[in-house]
Amino acid sequence: MAEAHRPGLVLRLHPEAFEPLVALAEWQQQLTAGGSEAPPAEAHFIGRVRGRSASGAALEALELEHYPGMTEAQITRLATAIAEHHGLLALRVDHRVGRVLPGEAIVLVAVAADRRGPAQRGGQELLEALKHDAPFWKREWSNGVGRWVEGNTAY
């Protein structure tokens, strides 16, 4: 890559459904654009909406509120720190906002590195950072009633 020492973050916030494998294909193409060698190690994580709420009721939808502006700034800060710590080559984050239906993807995290350890650890840390330190709030809708989710599902 032209900027091998400044690992790039690609960040997309999606108000509509997105297809994680299409996002990954686009990212991989960018990484090898201009004949660059594909990274030796890639770790991905995809999170999708469950069909049940935390209380076990059938879920109609998950509503994702965020803080426009801070979301992008904060994810960039988090990703940059993790990339430097692990010496990553590239990162990609796709995150839904708005109304998300059961089975739809909420989040994609992808990390490229020279070795499997940094790729896997970097991807895990970035996902935890999104869950705890990026300004997103989930509201579960069941039977027409919305309930804000306090905190995250168990790791």
């Binding site: 999170g47 509120e65 965020h66 803080y67 502006g69 801070m70 700034a73 904060q74 800060r77 995150h95 909420i106 989040v107 996902l127 935890e128 999104l130 869950k131 705890h132 330190d133 990026a134 300004p135 997103f136 709030w137 989930k138 509201r139 804000w148 989710v149 306090e150 905190g151 995250n152």
Partner: protein, 79 residues
């Protein structure tokens, strides 16, 4: 002016999401903790609420400047 934003459950409890407050030139610089009281949101900011100033996390006692955007954030649930 200082711009204040509330999100998610906090916004719904308060009944508003955005406000702008005038700051008088002679008053001491305000802080997020002071704003919370001044806006009638409560005596002290609950421990689970986090504060952002200009879209970055900040301390409750950070001195504020005119034009700052202050946000109170309920517990985060992203990813």
């Amino acid at each position: 002016m200082i711009h204040v934003r509330l999100f998610a459950g906090l916004r719904e409890q308060a009944g508003w999401g955005e406000r702008s407050l005038a700051i008088s030139a002679e008053s001491p610089p305000d802080t997020p903790a002071g704003l919370w009281r001044q806006l009638g949101l409560g005596e002290t900011v609950p421990p689970q609420v986090r504060v952002a100033v200009n879209q970055a996390f900040a301390a409750l006692d950070q001195p504020l400047q005119p034009g700052d955007e202050v946000a109170f954030l309920p517990p985060i649930s992203g990813g």
